[in-house]
């Protein structure tokens, strides 16, 4: 195998038998979480003089700011300051990519909930009270709330993206069969249990320390510096943990942290800014809703010859991360299927709603919903099972193995001998006893009762790496102390996913010491600089490998000292169980550390990792954006009530490829959690804006996230066995954060299947997402109308 990454990463080390990596370990903070002693930012005690912030939000979707009257607010009890855009000493700019997004509205407002000003007061109650007294006089302009309407008006937040291969138009026209259609899917609120929070501490000489609940400390640092008009070295950003994030704290956390820093700068006192839940939901971004129009040409076997897609992303009022989100939609519209002639257009619709942003899957799920709906529609039009249509189109020897963007799907001899896609599909259909279930469901539906069942399988291929090659870098800082204990810092952030645990396992593995001897410390821009967001499922790939490199470097130095001590060759020495062993002699790891210190050998190293082999041309949308693909498949069985639209997922079977998992139990938790979160997006979580553009679902009382009784009662999850990553990832593991979310599309497809059963599977269900009971009922009614007699 061609090794492009530089030493000290050596393939044999990654393939070695492991003692700590690859085994179940509990989350590093678990013992503190169960005691209520794991500190979140809002739990940090106040320093004397700490002030609290509350935002002033626009109640108009689109308009010109004529005047902001804050006299009453200033006079309100406990108020210390009221801050507007004009109070920003540096740049009023928070956009992660394009320069189009202000921290505080200036001259105009573009969505309800946009932050116009910030009240700083002695208590949170006083700040909130005063914020209501700010009067913002706005001249209303015509708003746009719908992505299709924005497409019609050609109103966009960034240039279109176009992924093309071959001649789709010609292929569609030449094909025996042709279908056109539209799939609509809603957005999703992250509903991290811990709302956005930051705590800013002004230091001497213009320094600023910000504790931020962020997935991206570097972005917070850069933007706080810009906001305050200082250089980055004046700002230190830290985060020990988040109470959930899911992408919602990738770019959005910067807004909250920036404003807290602005308040601290203006007042010279420590300032807290914790968003109330309803403000958080109104003012911060969500998953992109999409309208996807398609035109597909295929033959009698269901093989797709050409596919044209217009993917209209509900961008919101600014670009934010919509560009890369669309790129991921377009590069995942193929899912597991070879599409020879492809023409995928991505349009960033400018709407007067909150900016949509990163959310687990990052555009991938929307692309996959579209292609699976297309497969489903093709199947119904041919009167065949969707499984047959999938089988006719899977990447493989008979179809093709290159994606429309030019990356080969299979690595080494995967295509010939060990096709990972086939593996997960065969495994899951066997686990779920697909044929038996299909027969049972048909018998159940044949009773023509009020309840109808549906069944579907969802295969997932997900590309791992940030599309933008630059972002695929990780850093770590490792110190070994004289007693052999280890301090670990890395560029990733902990949001519950167990990243810290996994990276600590890697370091403990390299040194051969107990996991408990590795101390995990808060993410800190002062320790590991210029980091990427902990996103794109890449946290352990990037930072785990960086920590591996740092620890390996220190270990190499220690090994020299050990060789001298034992008068032996490196190959005779083993680091294990906290001991450094040479034949029948041994010293403790701590003793060796002490020897190194005495010999003036550095016991500290920074580690760096840049993902090899990847490249991407954003203009032509060609390249090898992904280091590797990860695979999964799910089978879901559902039941619907045709009189009410009420529905349930009865069972799910999942097989997920995690490579050689770093920590199987943590990966299982990621899979289950992602699946349920995706199921929420596709079934019960509905964002609802009124005609004025006000989000009316600003809390879990109106925005329904899955509860304990909404989870399928039969929930079987299996990690694909014996599948080390063929690429040289950290201990041959694979990323797991996002991919299983898309397995939940099986539930949505099964609901479509249940509705379609009413027509004897002749007609496709007209069911968009989320498939709320209301939408299921409408789809049933529509089916009754179209099918005439129900089956």
């Amino acid at each position: 195998m061609n090794i492009q990454s530089k030493p000290p990463v050596a393939a044999q080390k990654l393939d070695a038998e492991t003692r700590i990596v690859g085994h179940d370990h509990v989350h590093d903070s678990a013992s503190r979480h169960v005691r209520g002693q794991a500190v979140y930012i809002d739990d940090m005690p106040d320093l004397p003089g700490t002030l609290h912030c509350a935002p002033v939000l626009s109640n108009v979707a689109h308009g010109k700011i004529l005047n902001i009257d804050f006299d009453k607010a200033r006079a309100s009890e406990g108020v210390v300051d009221v801050l507007l855009a004009s109070d920003i000493p540096g740049k009023n700019e928070v956009a992660p990519i394009f320069a189009d997004e202000p921290f505080l509205a200036e001259g105009k407002v573009e969505h309800v909930g946009q932050i116009v000003g910030l009240v700083v007061a002695d208590t949170l109650a006083h700040a909130l009270q005063a914020a209501r007294k700010v009067v913002v006089d706005i001249e209303e302009l015509t708003p746009c709330f719908d992505e299709a309407e924005a497409f019609e008006a050609q109103s966009r937040t960034l240039p279109d993206q176009h992924l093309k291969r071959g001649d789709a138009q010609q292929a569609i026209e030449a094909a025996a069969r042709r279908l056109t259609g539209r799939v609509k899917m809603g957005g999703q609120d992250h509903f991290y249990l811990e709302a956005h929070t930051a705590h800013a501490f002004p230091g001497e000489a213009g320094d600023m320390t910000v504790w931020s609940s962020t997935q991206h400390p570097t972005e917070v640092q850069v933007h706080v510096a810009m906001l305050l008009g200082v250089k980055s070295h004046k700002v230190d950003v830290k985060c020990r943990r988040m109470g959930g994030a899911f992408g919602g704290k990738e770019s959005q956390a910067t807004i909250i942290a920036g404003l807290a820093a602005l308040a601290a700068h203006a007042t010279g006192q420590p300032c807290r800014f914790r968003m109330r839940r309803d403000d958080d939901m109104a003012a911060t971004g969500k998953r992109h809703g999409y309208t996807i129009n398609y035109d597909v040409g295929f033959d009698e076997t269901g093989r797709i010859h050409g596919l044209k897609v217009e993917a209209l992303a509900h961008s919101g009022h600014v670009a934010d991360l919509t560009g890369p989100v669309i790129a991921r939609t377009l590069t995942h519209l193929d899912n597991c299927y070879h599409i020879e002639h492809a023409d995928f257009l991505g349009f960033a619709a400018k709407t007067n709603t909150v900016s949509n942003t990163a959310f687990r899957g990052f555009g991938g799920p929307q692309g996959m919903v579209a292609i699976e709906a297309i497969i489903d529609d093709i199947a119904r039009s041919l009167g065949r099972d969707a499984q047959d249509i999938r089988a006719a189109n899977y990447y493989g020897a008979e179809t093709g193995s290159e994606t429309p963007y030019g990356q080969s799907v299979f690595v080494g001899d995967e295509l010939a001998h060990d096709n990972p896609l086939r593996n997960v599909i065969e495994r899951v259909t066997s686990n779920a006893r697909w044929d038996e279930k299909r027969t049972q469901i048909e018998a159940f539906n044949a009773k023509r009762g009020v309840l109808r069942k549906g069944l579907a399988m969802m295969p997932v291929k997900f590309g791992i790496s940030f599309n933008l090659t630059t972002l695929n870098q990780g850093g770590a800082l490792v110190h070994v102390y004289m007693d052999g204990s280890v301090h670990l810092n890395h560029g990733g952030t902990e949001m519950g996913q167990g990243l810290n645990t996994k990276v600590a396992q890697v370091v403990a593995e390299v040194f051969g010491i107990p996991l408990g001897d590795v101390q995990i410390t808060p993410s800190d821009t002062g320790k590991v600089p210029n980091t990427s967001a902990t996103a794109a499922s890449s946290g352990s790939d990037l930072n785990g490998m960086a920590a591996f490199n740092a620890a390996s470097e220190i270990k190499a130095r220690m090994l020299d000292v050990a060789c001298e001590h034992f008068d032996a060759m490196p190959s005779d020495i083993d680091f294990r169980d906290g001991q450094v062993v040479c034949g029948d002699r041994s010293i403790s790891f701590g003793t060796l550390a002490k020897y190194c210190w005495m010999k003036r050998i550095s016991l500290s190293a920074e580690g760096f990792y840049a993902t090899p082999k990847i490249h991407w041309d954003g203009k032509t949308m060609k390249g090898r954006p992904f280091f590797y693909f990860t695979y999964g498949a799910a089978v879901a069985e559902v039941v619907i009530d045709t009189l009410t639209g009420e529905n349930r997922c009865l069972s799910v079977d999942i097989v997920q490829d995690c490579g050689k998992s770093l920590n199987p139990v943590i990966d299982l938790g990621q899979i289950e959690g992602a699946f349920v979160q995706g199921m929420g997006w596709l079934t019960c979580e509905e964002l609802w804006w009124d005609e004025k553009g006000r989000l009316r679902t600003v809390g879990p009382s109106t925005y329904k996230i899955p509860g304990s009784r909404d989870v399928p009662p039969v929930f079987n999850v299996e990690l694909l066995e014996n599948r080390p990553n063929p690429e040289e990832t950290v201990y041959r593991s694979k990323a797991v954060g996002e991919p299983p979310l898309m397995l939940s599309i099986a539930v949505w497809l099964a609901l479509r299947d249940a509705v379609s059963s009413l027509s004897g599977h002749r007609l496709a269900a007209a069911l968009d997402a989320p498939a709320t009971p209301e939408r299921v009922l409408f789809a049933v009614e529509d089916m009754k109308e179209r099918a005439g007699e129900l089956i």
Partner: protein, 167 residues
């Protein structure tokens, strides 16, 4: 408005305080009693993160005023376990991976405490029912349910000697 004097027991300890009549119990616990293990998630009584025990019953501390707890016995997450050792329910959540980000965990533990005090051997359905008022966005609940089953077993087998005020 004048502050009101209240006298209550928190995690087995007598506490007296003067509180504004409209101060939420969650704010009183977090900021006045400085027990930040009780988390505030949705602020309108749906997510269950702020659950505490009031006279043995799980309540939403964001929906109750501090003054209403005059004379009551309050149990928060910090009061579970004794002398530094974990309560069996805490132990089970730890061992069985019943958490990810951990933000919902204290509220879940309170809900589980109430359930297991009433039903030492709950069925899976009863567990799902008991935590249906507690939202978790990370786990998909499977490991939480497993943890509660394991906790129930631990308690039944008498490992639950470390009962405290909160249980």
């Amino acid at each position: 408005m004048d502050k009101v004097a209240i006298n209550l027991t928190v995690n087995g300890r007598n506490r007296q305080a003067l509180v504004p009549p409209r101060m939420l119990l969650s704010d009183f616990i977090r900021h006045e009693l400085e027990l930040p293990g009780t988390h505030v998630g949705c602020e309108h009584g749906v997510c269950g993160s702020c659950n505490v025990l009031v006279d043995g019953k799980a309540v939403r501390s964001c929906l109750m005023f501090a003054v209403q707890t005059d004379g009551a016995r309050i149990g928060t997450i910090e009061g579970m376990g004794a002398d530094g050792s974990l309560h069996p329910i805490q132990e089970a959540f730890w061992e069985e991976h019943g958490l990810q980000c951990g933000f919902c965990t204290p509220g879940m533990l309170v809900a589980a405490t109430e359930l297991l005090a009433e039903k030492p051997d709950p069925s899976e359905e009863e567990i799902r029912e008991a935590i249906s008022g507690n939202l978790c966005r990370c786990t998909g609940y499977e490991f939480i349910i497993k943890a509660i089953r394991s906790a129930a077993q631990k308690l039944r087998e008498g490992n639950g000697a470390a009962q405290t005020e909160s249980a």
